[in-house]
Structure formats: structure tokens, C-alpha cells
Subunit: 121 residues, 2 copies
């Protein structure tokens, strides 16, 4: 049901945690299951230097968040905003349709964190 890459990011998630002095924080909820996802970003000279996430969500939510933190680090704010839900699913070599709600949390929370960063500038 899940690709090796999904299982790897689920079992060894990258960048789990909080950034205390984050420049942007975004939280989004999954209407289907009530789970929350929070992403923290640290930005310097318009480039994302660090990303961390926290969730109580399922394996698909954990795998996509872990994946997107790796995709976002080193990117400019504009490049990071251009990462779509589908980009993350593609990078993970696919996700089952029933899990799209869960996996959308990652991209949505990253975009929310970037919006929060822009508001504070």
C-alpha cells in the first residue's frame, strides 16, 4: 500500500520538533480526523534555513511532513511557496487516495508558516 520512501520517512521522520525562535509558524487541521499539523520555519536573507514539524497525525501525515521539510530547506520563500501538495506526493513515489487529506497537511502548513513569516516582516 505504501512506497518504500513513505515507510522510510514514517519510520525515521526528519526534522521533528519545534523551533523556539521561529520566523514563521503555521498550523492546519485535518477536517476528516481532527489531527493538527504545525510547521516552524527559520528564514535568513529570504532563504529557509531550518524547518521543523509537529503532529499527532498518522503515518501519511508524518511522511509527507518529513519529506517537505527536506524539500524546503535551502529554498527561497518563493520557491518554497511553489511546492504543491502533488510535488510532495510525487517525491514520495505516490500515496493512496484515502490518505490525500492527511498528506495535504504538510504543504498547507508550510504555506501557512510562510504566510505568517510575511505578515511579521
Amino acid at each position: 500500500m505504501y512506497s518504500d520512501k513513505v515507510m522510510d520517512h514514517f519510520q525515521n521522520p526528519r526534522n521533528v520538533g519545534e523551533i523556539e525562535d521561529a520566523d514563521g509558524v503555521g498550523t492546519v487541521g485535518n477536517p476528516t480526523c481532527g489531527d493538527l499539523m504545525t510547521i516552524y520555519i527559520k528564514v535568513k536573507d529570504n532563504v529557509i534555513e531550518d524547518v521543523k514539524f509537529k503532529t499527532f497525525g498518522c503515518g501519511a501525515a508524518i511522511a509527507t511532513s518529513s519529506m517537505i521539510t527536506e524539500m524546503a530547506v535551502g529554498k527561497t520563500i518563493e520557491e518554497a511557496l511553489a511546492i504543491t501538495r502533488n510535488d510532495v506526493a510525487d517525491e514520495l513515489e505516490g500515496l493512496p487516495p484515502v490518505k490525500m487529506h492527511c498528506s495535504n497537511l504538510a504543504a498547507d502548513a508550510l504555506h501557512a508558516a510562510i504566510d505568517n513569516y510575511k505578515e511579521k516582516m
Copy 2:
């Protein structure tokens, strides 16, 4: 939203994994989110000697499974069958209503594993 005990079992889940030569294996699915939960038991002289679980489910599913493995070890088959969904939630000092679907997986999978053990006897 979650008790300290839930967070502890979510962040440090006990008895994650498989039992290769299990005496009983039970798998149940969560109709809401599509997640699966599998519980493996090892039985000797009618007593559960070892329990392990595997899931792709959310934090509530992980916490309840971790909790129920601790509750079931050392119990007789009859005592383990008597553990209800509510017993697990009580032991965890409560769970939010939106998560009842997820947290029911643990008790249901344990019961399914015991049924499987009985069938094989």
C-alpha cells in the same frame, strides 16, 4: 487536548514491532481514515507473554496500542478479552471524542488476535 500519559505513549510507544512466530495475529481497519492496526500475541499456558503492534495510524492509535500492550502482558486470555475500549481510554486519562475511532483500533485488534489464537488451538 491530550493527557500527559497519551503524549508519553505517543512519543515513546512501547512494544512496537512484529512477533514472527506469533500465536495469534489480528488486523483491523479504521473506516474513517483507512488506517490499519495489527496486534501480535505470544501465549503460554493460557497467559499472554508478549504483545507487539504495528500501525500507520495517528497519535491516538499509537498511544492506545502502546497502552493496551502494557495492560495485556501477563494477563490470561479471558482477562485480556475483558479489556474494553473504555478501559484503555480510562488508563490513558481520557481521549478526545473525535479520536474514538482511532483509539478503538487497539482493543479491537487485540480481541481479533485472541480470536485468531483460539481458532488455531
